[in-house]
Symmetry: C2
Subunit: 185 residues, 2 copies
C-alpha cells in the first residue's frame, strides 16, 4: 500500500505501473496481481487504506488537543497536514487521471465518497458541532474544500507559510460563523 502511494506521488499515474509498485514493495508482479487484478484496484485500495489510517491517527492526536482558544486553528492545521502529504499527491494524481479515464473514475468515485465521509465525520466530531443543521454542514464542507484547495497549491511548492496565515484567518471566521449560528438557535 505504501509502495503504491509512494510510486503514484513521485511518478504519477503513467509512471506507477504494477511492475514498479511490486518492485518497490519487494514482491513479485504475479503476487501483486493475484490480490489486485488491475492497477486501478491496487491504487484505489492503497488510497483507501492509507487514507483510513491517517484519519484514525489524526482522530487520536486531535482527541488530545486542549480545549482552548486556538483549538479550531489546531484542528484545521492537523487536517491540512493530511492534504499536504504524499497521500494527497497520490490521490491528486488519481483524480486527474480519472478525469480523463471513465473506467478508473468508476473505481474511484465510491472510494472518494467513502474517504470524504470519514474526513467530514471526523471534522464534525473534532469541532464539536451539529451538522444536521444545513448551515453548519455547509461551513464544514467549505472548510474541507478550502483545505483541499490548499493541498493543490502545495503540490508544486512548499506553501506552508501562506497556508498557515489563511488557516488562522479561516479558523477565526469559522468560529464567528458557528457562534452566530448557535446564537440564533
Amino acid at each position: 500500500m505504501e509502495a503504491a502511494i509512494g510510486a503514484l506521488s513521485e511518478l504519477g499515474w503513467a509512471g506507477a505501473t504494477m511492475t514498479v509498485i511490486a518492485e518497490r514493495a519487494g514482491v513479485s508482479r504475479g503476487a501483486c496481481q493475484h490480490h489486485f487484478p488491475t492497477r486501478g484496484d491496487l491504487v484505489a485500495a492503497a488510497v483507501e487504506y492509507v487514507g483510513h489510517q491517517q484519519v484514525e491517527e489524526l482522530g487520536r492526536r486531535a482527541a488530545r488537543l486542549p480545549v482552548d482558544g486556538r483549538r479550531t486553528e489546531s484542528i484545521l492545521n492537523m487536517l491540512a497536514g493530511i492534504y499536504t502529504q504524499p497521500l494527497f499527491a497520490a490521490a491528486a494524481q488519481l483524480w486527474v487521471a480519472a478525469s480523463a479515464d471513465a473506467e478508473l473514475r468508476a473505481q474511484l468515485l465510491p472510494l472518494e465518497a467513502k474517504v470524504g465521509r470519514e474526513v467530514h465525520r471526523l471534522t464534525v466530531t473534532l469541532l464539536g458541532v451539529d451538522d444536521r443543521e444545513p448551515e453548519t454542514r455547509e461551513l464544514v464542507q467549505a472548510t474541507l474544500d478550502l483545505i483541499r484547495g490548499l493541498g493543490l497549491a502545495n503540490l508544486m511548492r512548499d506553501d506552508s507559510a501562506r497556508r498557515k496565515k489563511i488557516l488562522h484567518r479561516w479558523a477565526l471566521t469559522l468560529e464567528d460563523a458557528l457562534r452566530s449560528r448557535r446564537g440564533r438557535d
Copy 2:
C-alpha cells in the same frame, strides 16, 4: 492554444503529446515545434493565454453585475465557473504532472504565480475591497483556495449542486467577515 487545453484536459499530460496537439490544431508537428521547442513551453503558453482570456472575459461580465444583495455570491459563482471548465482540468493535469517533474515545475511556477495574481487582483476589484489590509487579503486568498478546491471536487463528477450551496454559505460568511473588518476601522 485551444487544442493544447483540449488535449490536456481530455487525455492528460501523458496523452497530450506534441503530435496529438498539432493534429488537433490542424498544423504540422514541425510548425508547432518551431514556435514551442518543448511540450512544456507549448502547454504553459496555452494555459497562460487561455487563463488570461478568461480573466478578461470574466472581468467584462462581472462589471455588468448589479450592485445588490447577491453580488458577492454572483461573483463567486462566476469565478467558480473558470475553475470548472476544461482550462482548470488542463491546469490540474499540468500541476500534478509538475509535482513529479522538476523541469516542468520550473516552467510552470512563474506562470502559475502570474495567473494567480491576475485572478486575485480581479477578485479584489470585483468585491470592492482593500487588500493592503492583511485580514482582507487572507480572506480573498482563502476564497480563491476554496474555489480551487471546489474545482478539484468537480474533476470526477458534476458537483454543481453541492458547490452552489457551499458558495452561497461562503458568500454570506465572507460578507460578514469583511463587514466586521470595516466596522473596526
